[in-house]
C-alpha cells in the first residue's frame, strides 16, 4: 500500500469539495482532493445550472436568500467564464396566487435581492413563448452557471497552488486514533490498489454521501437525500431564467443553459443517495408544469432527463445547535466540538451558488482546528479561465470556430467540438472514459446524444491513448448504457426518432453488441 501525507484531505469532488480544495491550497495548506468517481459526477453535475439570485428563497428562507445574492455577486466577479448572464424573471401565472407578488417584492427588498416589477407586455416581448396569461412579472439577477466548468476551474486553481487530486478513488475507511481522525485509506476503483493518506484535518465534503463518510469516524450525520428530476429540452425555449412567483415547489423553474433549457425539479426523499431512477409520473409532472410557463412545452423536443440528489441535512443533536452555521442553507459540523472527534470537519447541505462561502467556512474551521489564522482570498481572486472578467456568451464556440470554418474536423457537430479540442482533452484528462470527456467538452450532450460523435471519440481515444480493443470497446458500450438512463424516460417525438437512428447506427450498422470484450 502506498502512502501520502497532506495537511488537508478533502473528500468529495463536487462544487463544495473543489472549492474547499482551492481555498485550502490558496491558504498555503498542502491539500489532497479525493473523489470516488469523476469530478462533478454527483449532485453538482446533476442540477439545473441555476445561479440563484436569492429570489427563490426571499419569502420562505430569508437567510438563504441573503447568502445567495451575496455569493451571486461574488461569483460574477471571480468566475464569470462559468456564468451566462441570462437574468431571471418571476412570473405570476394563472395558477399562482396574485397576492404572492407583493410578498415576493417585500421579501426581495428585505433580503437585498435586486428586484424590479416589469410590465407583462415587456416581459412577453422579451420571452415570446411565455404563457400569455401571466399577471405580473419581476426581474432578478438569476443566471446560468456551468457546473463542470466551475468545478474544473476550482481544481485547476487548486492544482496551481500545489494541491493534488485523486479521482476514481473511494474512501474505504477513516483512521481514528485517540479521538482524532488521522487520515484515510483510499482505493483506486479502477486498479483496486489501496493508498493510505495521513492528514492533519479531513474535510468531509461528500454532499449527499456525507453521512456515509461521517459514520466512518463514528459520527452520526443525518442526511435526508432529496431526489430532484430535471429534463433538458433541445432548444433554448426561453433566454431568461423563468421562475413561478410562488412558494418554491416542483417543476417551477426553467433555466436556459448552453444550447438547451432545463426544467426542474422535484423533491422526493430517498434512502439511498445513489438513487437515480426517473419515473414516468415525474416526467409527466414536469412536462405539465412546463406547459404552465411555456404553452406547447410537451410538443418541444426533450433531450435527456436526469436525477440529482440534494444533501438535506437534519441535525439530530438539538443541544449542539451552536455547531450549526448561520443559515439553514448549509451545515458546518466541527466534529471536535460536536462529537469529540478531532481533525474532522463536515460541510454539507447548501447549493452550488453558495459553494464558495461553504468552502470558506469549512477552511476557517480547519484553521481553527490547526490553531492558525490564514485569511480567505477566494472572494477576490478570479478562477482560471475567468481572467478577462467577461461572462460566457451563448455562441462562443461558434464565434471561435467561424474565422476558420473548415480548418479541421468537427467531431461533435451538436456541440461544435473539434478534433484538436478532443485530442487536447484526452491528453489532459488522461482518461479512458468517454463519459469523463463528455463532462469536459459536452460531447454527446446535444440533439443526437452521441449518435455520431461517440464512434469518432472512441476511435480517437483508442489511437491517442494506445488503448487495447477491450478498453476502448468497454468505454463505448458503457457510454451507451449511461446515456440510455437519461434517454428512455423521455423518449417520444423527435427524440425517439433520433434514438431509432442511433439504435440503427450502433446495432445495425456497426453491430456493437458483437464487439470483442
Amino acid at each position: 500500500m502506498s502512502s501520502l501525507q497532506t495537511d488537508v484531505l478533502v473528500i468529495g469532488g463536487g462544487s463544495t469539495g473543489s472549492g474547499v480544495a482551492r481555498d485550502a491550497a490558496m491558504r498555503g495548506f498542502s491539500t489532497l482532493l479525493v473523489e470516488r468517481r469523476d469530478l462533478a459526477d454527483g449532485t453538482t453535475g446533476r442540477f439545473h445550472g441555476l445561479l440563484h439570485s436569492g429570489g427563490r428563497y426571499a419569502v420562505k428562507d430569508p437567510p438563504a436568500a441573503i447568502e445567495c445574492i451575496k455569493e451571486n455577486l461574488i461569483l460574477r466577479k471571480v468566475a464569470p467564464d462559468c456564468i451566462e448572464d441570462t437574468g431571471g424573471v418571476f412570473v405570476v401565472t394563472p395558477w399562482d396566487d396574485p397576492a404572492f407578488g407583493d410578498r415576493f417584492l417585500a421579501g426581495c427588498k428585505n433580503t437585498g435581492v435586486p428586484v424590479h416589477e416589469v410590465s407583462v407586455g415587456d416581459t412577453l416581448r422579451r420571452e415570446p413563448r411565455l404563457h400569455p396569461g401571466i399577471k405580473r412579472a419581476f426581474t432578478v439577477p438569476d443566471a446560468a452557471i456551468d457546473p463542470w466548468k466551475l468545478v474544473w476551474s476550482n481544481v485547476r486553481s487548486a492544482q496551481e497552488h500545489g494541491a493534488r487530486m485523486l479521482t476514481y478513488h473511494r474512501v474505504l475507511s477513516l483512521d481514528v486514533d485517540g479521538g482524532k481522525v488521522m487520515g484515510a485509506v483510499l482505493q483506486d476503483v479502477r486498479s483496486g490498489d489501496e493508498v493510505r493518506v495521513r492528514a492533519e484535518v479531513v474535510v468531509n465534503a461528500a454532499g449527499a454521501w456525507a453521512g456515509q463518510i461521517a459514520s466512518m469516524a463514528g459520527c452520526e450525520v443525518q442526511i435526508l437525500p432529496g431526489k430532484g428530476v430535471m429534463i433538458a429540452m433541445n432548444h433554448r425555449l426561453v433566454q431568461t431564467v423563468l421562475n413561478r412567483c410562488k412558494l418554491p415547489g416542483d417543476g417551477d423553474i426553467i433555466v436556459p443553459i448552453r444550447t438547451t433549457c432545463v426544467i426542474g425539479t422535484t423533491d422526493v426523499h430517498v434512502t439511498d443517495p445513489d438513487t437515480s431512477e426517473i419515473t414516468k409520473h415525474e416526467v409527466d409532472f414536469m412536462l405539465d408544469e412546463g406547459e404552465k410557463l411555456v404553452p406547447g412545452f410537451r410538443q418541444a423536443r426533450a433531450l435527456h432527463a436526469w436525477a440529482g440528489v440534494r444533501p438535506l441535512f437534519q441535525e439530530t443533536r438539538a443541544k449542539d445547535i451552536e455547531t450549526r452555521d448561520v443559515t439553514r442553507s448549509h451545515a458546518l459540523l466541527d466534529h471536535k466540538k460536536r462529537d469529540g472527534v478531532g481533525g474532522f470537519v463536515t460541510i454539507t447541505g447548501g447549493k452550488t451558488t453558495t459553494y464558495r462561502f461553504m468552502a470558506e467556512v469549512a477552511v476557517d474551521a480547519v484553521c481553527e482546528q490547526l490553531g492558525v489564522q490564514r485569511p480567505c482570498s477566494t472572494a477576490k481572486e478570479r478562477l482560471p479561465g475567468s481572467e478577462r472578467g467577461a461572462t460566457y456568451q451563448l455562441g462562443a464556440r461558434l464565434g471561435a470556430r467561424e474565422p476558420l470554418p473548415q480548418s479541421e474536423e468537427i467531431i461533435c457537430e451538436c456541440e461544435l467540438v473539434t478534433r484538436s479540442h478532443l485530442d487536447a482533452a484526452i491528453a489532459r484528462r488522461e482518461t479512458d472514459s468517454i463519459d469523463d470527456i463528455r463532462r469536459l467538452l459536452r460531447i454527446g450532450m446535444g440533439p443526437c446524444q452521441g449518435g455520431f460523435c461517440i464512434y469518432r471519440a472512441t476511435a480517437l481515444l483508442h489511437a491517442d491513448r494506445h488503448l487495447d480493443y477491450a478498453t476502448a470497446n468497454h468505454s463505448l458500450l458503457d457510454f451507451l448504457e449511461e446515456r440510455w438512463k437519461g434517454l428512455h424516460p423521455i423518449l417520444y417525438g423527435d427524440q425517439l426518432r433520433q434514438t431509432r437512428l442511433d439504435d440503427w447506427i450502433f446495432q445495425g450498422l456497426f453491430d456493437v453488441r458483437h464487439l470483442p470484450r
Binding site: R298, E409, A459, Y469, L476, R483, W484, R500, Q507, G508
Partner: protein
C-alpha cells in the same frame, strides 16, 4: 391527375414497389417528404443476420423456422421464394452496383468497428471484404475523414469470431486537402471521382501492400463514377479492394438511390420529393386520393391503389407523443405491437429488446393494413418496409431485406388483384 398506383415514401421499399409496377406499365407516382434510408444506410441487403444471438449462415435455411418463432414478422407474409426472387430482381435491375449474393448464404463483411456482419446481397465494391475464408486484410485510413478509423477497426477485427484465420493491419494516409479539411464522407467520395486524387492514393500505397492482402477502404469510393473508381483502384493496386460502410450519409447508399431513381424515370414513373403527404378522401372502403402538403396549398393526387412505405419511427412513418400515444402519420392507421397502456415502453437497459421495438402496421397476406380484429382498413391500401410491425431490424439485421422483399411483394399483390391499368397516351 389519376395514377394506377401512388407510392408514399422513397426508401428502398417504396422505390422497389414503384419500379416493379412501372415495369408492368403501371402509371406510378412516388411521393415523399424527403429521401429515405437509402441516403443513410449502405446498400447491402441483409435478409436475416441473427436469430436471437445466433449468427445466420444461410437465411434460406433459417427463414422457415424464424417465421414460426416470429409469427407477426413481415417475413411471415412473404415466402422465401419471393425473397430470393427479389434479390435476383434487384441484382438485375441495378447492374451499376454489380450486386453479388443469394439467399442461401450470407457474406460476412466487417463493420467500421471491426465486427463481422452477415449480409445476403452486397455490391461488388464490398465483396472482397468477405471474411468467411479468412486471409490478410489491410485497412486504409484517410486523415481528415472523421468517420473511419482504420486502427480501431483492425484491432477489433483481429479478435472477431470467424470460421477462418484473419490477420489485420492498417495504413494511415494523409491526403492533401485544399480549403476544406472536413469534407465528410460525401466530400471524400467526390474527390475519389477525380482521377488525380486516385493517382495520389495509388502512389501513396505504392510498395506498402503485402502479397495476398485485401485492401479495405472507407465507403467513399466515388459517387458519380463509383464502379469506375473501385475498378480503377483494384487494377492499379493489383490487390482486391473493398469498401467498409460508414456513418450516414452513405455514399454507396446514394448510388443505389440514384440507380433506382434512374430506372424508375426510364420506366416512366414520376418522383416527387419534398412534400409531406396527408390522407385525402376515401370512398366505399377505398382510398381515393392523398394530399401533398405543398407550401402553397394541399394538392390532391388520385390513384387506384396506394402503397404506404413511409418507414417506422426513424423515418417519420410513426410518431409517439409525450403521453405515450402512437400515430401512423399519413392515414392514422391502427398501430400494432404497442405495449398495453401503463406498461413501460422501454427497458432501463439499453441492449434489452424494448416494448415498442416491434411497433408498426399489421397487414394481411396481401400486405394491406388491418385493424385490431384483423379487418382490412382500406381495400386498396398496402404497406411495405419499415412501417410493418413485428420486426427488430437492427437486431435481426433484416432491414433492407424486409424493405426489398415486401416492396417487391406488394407490387405483385397489386398487379394480381387491382383494377386493370389506366390507359394514357401522354406522359409528363
Amino acid at each position: 391527375m389519376t395514377y394506377d398506383v401512388i407510392v408514399v415514401g422513397a426508401g428502398l421499399a417504396g422505390l422497389t414497389a414503384a419500379l416493379r409496377l412501372s415495369e408492368q406499365d403501371r402509371r406510378v407516382l412516388v411521393i415523399a417528404k424527403g429521401n429515405g434510408a437509402t441516403h443513410l444506410a449502405p446498400p447491402v441487403i441483409d435478409v436475416l443476420g441473427y436469430a436471437g444471438d445466433k449468427r445466420i449462415e444461410s437465411p434460406q435455411k433459417a427463414l422457415s423456422g424464424f417465421v414460426v418463432s416470429h409469427p407477426g414478422h413481415p417475413y411471415a407474409n412473404v415466402s422465401a421464394d419471393v425473397i430470393a426472387e427479389s434479390l435476383d430482381w434487384l441484382s438485375r435491375r441495378v447492374p451499376e452496383l454489380g450486386y453479388q449474393g443469394r439467399l442461401d448464404e450470407n457474406w460476412l463483411l466487417p463493420t467500421a468497428v471491426g465486427v463481422p456482419k452477415p449480409s445476403a446481397l452486397v455490391p461488388e465494391s464490398m465483396v472482397a471484404g468477405d471474411l468467411r475464408r479468412g486471409g490478410r486484410f489491410v485497412f486504409i485510413g484517410l486523415r481528415g475523414l472523421k468517420d473511419f478509423h482504420a486502427s480501431y477497426l483492425a484491432d477489433n477485427l483481429a479478435r472477431a469470431q470467424l470460421p477462418a484465420r484473419v490477420s489485420t493491419r492498417f495504413i494511415e494516409l494523409e491526403p492533401p486537402h485544399d480549403r476544406n479539411a472536413d469534407p465528410g464522407s460525401v466530400g471524400f467520395a467526390r474527390r475519389f471521382d477525380e482521377p488525380r486524387f486516385r493517382d495520389w492514393i495509388v502512389q501513396a500505397l505504392a510498395g506498402q501492400l503485402e502479397p495476398n492482402e485485401k485492401v479495405g477502404f472507407p465507403a467513399v469510393l466515388g459517387i458519380e463514377k463509383a464502379g469506375e473508381v473501385w475498378r480503377d483502384l483494384e487494377r492499379r493496386l493489383e490487390h482486391p479492394a473493398f469498401e467498409v460502410p460508414l456513418l450516414p450519409p452513405s455514399a454507396p447508399g446514394i448510388r443505389l438511390y440514384d440507380a433506382l431513381a434512374r430506372a424508375l424515370r426510364q420506366a416512366g414513373a414520376r418522383i416527387l420529393i419534398g412534400d409531406r403527404v396527408a390522407a385525402g378522401g376515401s370512398e366505399g372502403g377505398r382510398v381515393a386520393e392523398i394530399n401533398a402538403l405543398t407550401a402553397a396549398r394541399p394538392v390532391a393526387y388520385r390513384a387506384n391503389s396506394f402503397v404506404l412505405a413511409t418507414g417506422g419511427f426513424a423515418s417519420g412513418g410513426l410518431e409517439l407523443d409525450s403521453r405515450g400515444s402512437v400515430r401512423e402519420t399519413v392515414f392514422g392507421l391502427p398501430v400494432a405491437g404497442m405495449p398495453d397502456a401503463g406498461e413501460p415502453m422501454f427497458s432501463p437497459r439499453y441492449f434489452d429488446t424494448h416494448a415498442v421495438s416491434r411497433a408498426g402496421v399489421a397487414v394481411d397476406a396481401r400486405l394491406r393494413p388491418v385493424d385490431e380484429k384483423g379487418k382490412v382498413v382500406f381495400e386498396n391500401l398496402h404497406a411495405a418496409g419499415a412501417i410493418l410491425s413485428g420486426a427488430v431490424p437492427w437486431r435481426e439485421h433484416s432491414g433492407n431485406g424486409i424493405s426489398l422483399a415486401t416492396g417487391y411483394a406488394v407490387a405483385a399483390a397489386i398487379l394480381e388483384h387491382a383494377a386493370p391499368r389506366i390507359r394514357v397516351d401522354a406522359r409528363d
